[in-house]
Subunit: 283 residues, 6 copies
Amino acid sequence: MSVPPLPNIMIEPLVRAALLEDLGRAGDITTDAIVPAEARANTALVARQPGVVAGLDLALLAFKLVDPSILASVKHPDGYRLSSGDVIATVTGPARGILSGERIALNFLCHLSGIATATAAIVEAVRGHRARVTCTRKTTPGLRAVQKYAVRVGGGANHRFGLDDAVLIKDNHIAVAGGIKPAVERARCAVGHLIKIEIEVDTLVQLEEALAVGVDAVLLDNMPPDELRRAVAMVGGRAVTEASGRITPATAPIIASTGVDLISIGWLTHSSTALDIGLDHLE
Amino acid sequence: MSVPPLPNIMIEPLVRAALLEDLGRAGDITTDAIVPAEARANTALVARQPGVVAGLDLALLAFKLVDPSILASVKHPDGYRLSSGDVIATVTGPARGILSGERIALNFLCHLSGIATATAAIVEAVRGHRARVTCTRKTTPGLRAVQKYAVRVGGGANHRFGLDDAVLIKDNHIAVAGGIKPAVERARCAVGHLIKIEIEVDTLVQLEEALAVGVDAVLLDNMPPDELRRAVAMVGGRAVTEASGRITPATAPIIASTGVDLISIGWLTHSSTALDIGLDHLE
Amino acid sequence: MSVPPLPNIMIEPLVRAALLEDLGRAGDITTDAIVPAEARANTALVARQPGVVAGLDLALLAFKLVDPSILASVKHPDGYRLSSGDVIATVTGPARGILSGERIALNFLCHLSGIATATAAIVEAVRGHRARVTCTRKTTPGLRAVQKYAVRVGGGANHRFGLDDAVLIKDNHIAVAGGIKPAVERARCAVGHLIKIEIEVDTLVQLEEALAVGVDAVLLDNMPPDELRRAVAMVGGRAVTEASGRITPATAPIIASTGVDLISIGWLTHSSTALDIGLDHLE
Amino acid sequence: MSVPPLPNIMIEPLVRAALLEDLGRAGDITTDAIVPAEARANTALVARQPGVVAGLDLALLAFKLVDPSILASVKHPDGYRLSSGDVIATVTGPARGILSGERIALNFLCHLSGIATATAAIVEAVRGHRARVTCTRKTTPGLRAVQKYAVRVGGGANHRFGLDDAVLIKDNHIAVAGGIKPAVERARCAVGHLIKIEIEVDTLVQLEEALAVGVDAVLLDNMPPDELRRAVAMVGGRAVTEASGRITPATAPIIASTGVDLISIGWLTHSSTALDIGLDHLE
Amino acid sequence: MSVPPLPNIMIEPLVRAALLEDLGRAGDITTDAIVPAEARANTALVARQPGVVAGLDLALLAFKLVDPSILASVKHPDGYRLSSGDVIATVTGPARGILSGERIALNFLCHLSGIATATAAIVEAVRGHRARVTCTRKTTPGLRAVQKYAVRVGGGANHRFGLDDAVLIKDNHIAVAGGIKPAVERARCAVGHLIKIEIEVDTLVQLEEALAVGVDAVLLDNMPPDELRRAVAMVGGRAVTEASGRITPATAPIIASTGVDLISIGWLTHSSTALDIGLDHLE
Amino acid sequence: MSVPPLPNIMIEPLVRAALLEDLGRAGDITTDAIVPAEARANTALVARQPGVVAGLDLALLAFKLVDPSILASVKHPDGYRLSSGDVIATVTGPARGILSGERIALNFLCHLSGIATATAAIVEAVRGHRARVTCTRKTTPGLRAVQKYAVRVGGGANHRFGLDDAVLIKDNHIAVAGGIKPAVERARCAVGHLIKIEIEVDTLVQLEEALAVGVDAVLLDNMPPDELRRAVAMVGGRAVTEASGRITPATAPIIASTGVDLISIGWLTHSSTALDIGLDHLE
């Protein structure tokens, strides 16, 4: 089953705000001055490089919100692996609306497809290993829901969506609590039965403490491959193992080969490159 | 004079929204469970790689909005060129608030510093040439004002902020209007006296037409250096010349050597890498 | 450790909206007409019946937002078990502001204290059993975060905060999936490593299927005590057991005596009675 | 004529906000994981206990906002007196949307029907007397317009909607003004010609003062039936008489028998029990 | 007692929105470019023509929201009758903030003072008569609360604040209802006890019908003075009498001499002239 | 080509907010009480005085947002020069919705048509001269985009839309900078290539300084006609010339006869009179 779309009610506020940010107080003064109201355009969203489509719903909604009479026809939905030159969708209707909505449509589509593409590359790099690829909370302010969606589209998994949906105990929490054991116990006591607890450990000694008290997952931070391998062995399936720390497409296969369950990568959302997609005017 | 800060009233809604996106419906359940209300923390925002600071106001506001009793002391304000290890600011106060606000503070700071750093690198690369570096409307939805601010902090200039503050005539506008001359004339007739007109040209023939009708600026799209040089000569100071089209730090000096006034680069805002900045807990 | 407060940034929008709903387009015309600007009032929030305080931060913020010069002094914070007549806090300052903010302050305080009080009653009723008391998603629209907070203040635990922070598979999901096994497997495959999976079962046969495929929790819906007891035995600690279905303070002890881990009760948030608290003017 | 519905523009923001509160940042992860996009559902909103329907527009809008292709057919509109088992409306369409919108639809419908049902019970209890039943400003923050609507649907009348649409002089206003006469005179002088003035009196002496200066209505607070009867006689039609103070369905007939025009009851909106309504899946 | 101010919580959203509308996406680029951060200014809001001040709170809040360190000192508060040259308030602090906030401060102050001044002129013109001057719902979208406040500051009274706080039966309502009597009866039956009923009548025959059924107020629309006088006599104190229909400062005294209770004038809010107030820089 | 309309996405928030401001918490209680749900109305927006239509989109949207089943047929779109009695549009559908939306529709239409009409009168007065008529930033808070649109509809041009889309150097900027030359140089250095620079000058000496340093436009403030004429001659086409300062329809032709390029008039937006337009019920 493909990744289910986010309901329209979740994405419309984002698209609406982006359009208003661009239209400002006078609207598209170039198009309004030059393009007659009756002019029509027949266009296509076209990939200029290979990658994975994500965010097509947001892009098409941008056109629709500028002018509801614009019609779109989807050729390759979110998740499709594009070759350069592939038509993702056609967009037809009043030229004014298409020209005015173009940049916002592309800003969403290129950004989210970039995330999906980067995710897919890592997923591909670790194919054959058990490791899944996951994102972090290092997202662009305001876009967390859609960036995490793009990670899913690229074949990745989602880590926490916020501070409130899982416990993730980090070094400073451990320091304040006076150790791993009291930190985990306080968390277990405080949270509801549907909240999982993960703890960040930097050493195998810490890992042992964490396993002794019992956690759902361990974040093995910045461990070299050998240490990761030993950590996975120590865990022995008693917790989900997550490797993190500056993992790149180049290092991901080695990390994955250690047998960890998860590889988490912040730059999927904070530093991935936009995918180059353009709007071509057809005859 | 350093780049003036954006007034607080413009950035507070962004920071507030980002915090609420992260706090969700239950707040920071990890910190609330583990860290006592009376615990205090003494921390510093520290550069983990060289770069240019931008967005410090947003980062510090994130802490303040979580807990107004948190105190910050700025060591290196926006625009400062950081070495790895530099302390940007210290942040002191209730540990809960600092831990809960940390990620959002860093998300803004790393993202905007990344843009400033990328901008500064290009600015540096073209030093000695007349060319200024400028961004585009290819920004992340919702963040245009602060991303463009980060470009200024990095030493770059700003292009249009939206569809409404300048005319930029592109190929499709020309096609619909039936030529460069009618397109420019329609625009000139429609807009107010404080609106400038720029036109995108792909060939020297088009450039000649644009200069004949008269425009404030010409966007020389995807021209090779030799053609750019000829274009600059043709213009002869009658319009601002802007080069665009997949310009990288590597190619920027060559482009700049053609004598263009401006080099515009979309990836400054849509694809730059976040600067690595962390929050260290001090003794 | 007492229940940590929600950060101000999470509750201020609610209080602000409630005040504007009450002030309308003309403000407090009674007070404005009758009470001079210089009149001062010395008042106290007083319990008129026994119960558990919750929402005091919201109540005091209501006064502060109407007039920042109003001073409050907390006598009994959230979680305190009030006797009738107890002073919860004193509120002193300009009479106009106190009179104009009174109703909204009380609307929050009485509502949330009512939820905390109802929760505490059930918690008390099942004391000595392992069962924790938990709420549901049957909350009043717009108030989920603060109602769930009130449940915590009353000694209860929180169930899901929304559709997105845990999987809860209900009968219709099972029907569509064609059985418990495929439903759980689809869910497990789709969600991240920090998401727990709970499933609703109506019979012991279903329970067996659920345990066979493996889940984090089972919701035992509308089972009589005997069946619950057998279910708990069958589970044998392999999953969290949750009893639900029209549980009242009267029936809660019997349910708890079956050994379930959790008792979930919708009416804590959708039908509990407001606690009677008033604002008394002191000499 | 039945109670006119609130225009869609007034209820849509509430329903939209409630859905977003529930969908969070990831949407309905259970349904998305398990239910195929093409699955359809044929469901009915069914009363599980007798009562009065209110809020059906909000419930159906919840489904529509999640998926506009969901179709609803109303069987028993707002105001209908339901028997247990009655189908209120059928809801048909994509199963995903119906399952994702179900809880919010029910949260509105059960809450508002509970208020209408409680109101109707009191109205029924005082049938044969002149007294109308009215609500207060003790409403749930954010829901005043719809709760007051539910009171109307239940056959009740509405008191003030806010601090700004009528004058209600209470004991503290009288104390500050130095008496009933100056308080009423100040109010009369300050407000426009379409604003009515009501005053709260605790004794027959105060009532005499109020009648002497002239008011539109008197709130007879916490008076026993005999005193109420004398008060009504004293007023002799010169003002609307309103009885208030912990009136219950049991005491309402006695209060009504005193001849008062209005019985105001805060718990209609702050403490009524949700009506049990469920969503049944039909064959 | 002077007109009580609107609470800050009611005006801040308006001022904030107006500032953001003006600051756009780049802020005050002129001031930022030219005025150093450390420059200070010492300025005064000065009347350039006689009139009545209104809206000073909004003006000063505009400065404060741009820069909280700006200090203001009020010389003549709302309601003061200014002579040309009068200093209304001094505003001192960072020059950048004062220059950036100036236009929005003046836009509110000049607009609202214009309404107060126009109102005061009519109030003065009818002095000696019983008639009060009142505004209508013909207000500028978004500004109803503050425009009605300005009318009060000018000595006028407020009519309805919206469609929901009083019944005003107009000709079309009468037509649909099939007469004055059924229209009034339907209204009386539908609304709560604190809602007044006014009806618009065009003829003395209609007036007689209205008085027969009983209403709180009659709007005597477009009647010439003689007819108004007869109307007032017919009413004989049984209802409030309101004259309306293109009343100007010139015609107001004649209308007032007919003995009506109220003169309502739409142009107070929709067409009054802004009062000329400027910001002078002092030595 | 007629003035292009503002896209719906830009005007809908304004109309929605205005309707909610009017509907308040109870909606249109008069219409709801008196007009049956099934009653229909056939109405027309009719000019009661000559003028220029502007804002028809907002007016019709007001009806549509109250009840989407209302149908409108435009007879004379924005920009049309109305005679008294002209039908602007017909509006047909459920009577309730039409009556409830009428005032907000008219508030927008009369206000914006008033601005367009005032603008057109000045434009007409200066016909035959080169001068264009332009507005200022003296707009009503919240309505800048639509007021500036109305100016365009009336044949005027737009000045700056905010503080951020052009540089306008005023006397205080010059004073702080220490002269015209440094002020202009700082601005030129700070802003992007698509930003124009205008400077306000009060004397011909200042004008000479401004021309020497070079600017895009000069605002000739409060100069008498003779001085304006000399200023225009001095400028000799090197900059756009704008005359400002209390220009009225009476003085505009004289000002225009001096040869200035622009006449800017603040009262077009802050003090123009609403155009009298009504909603007539047809047979």
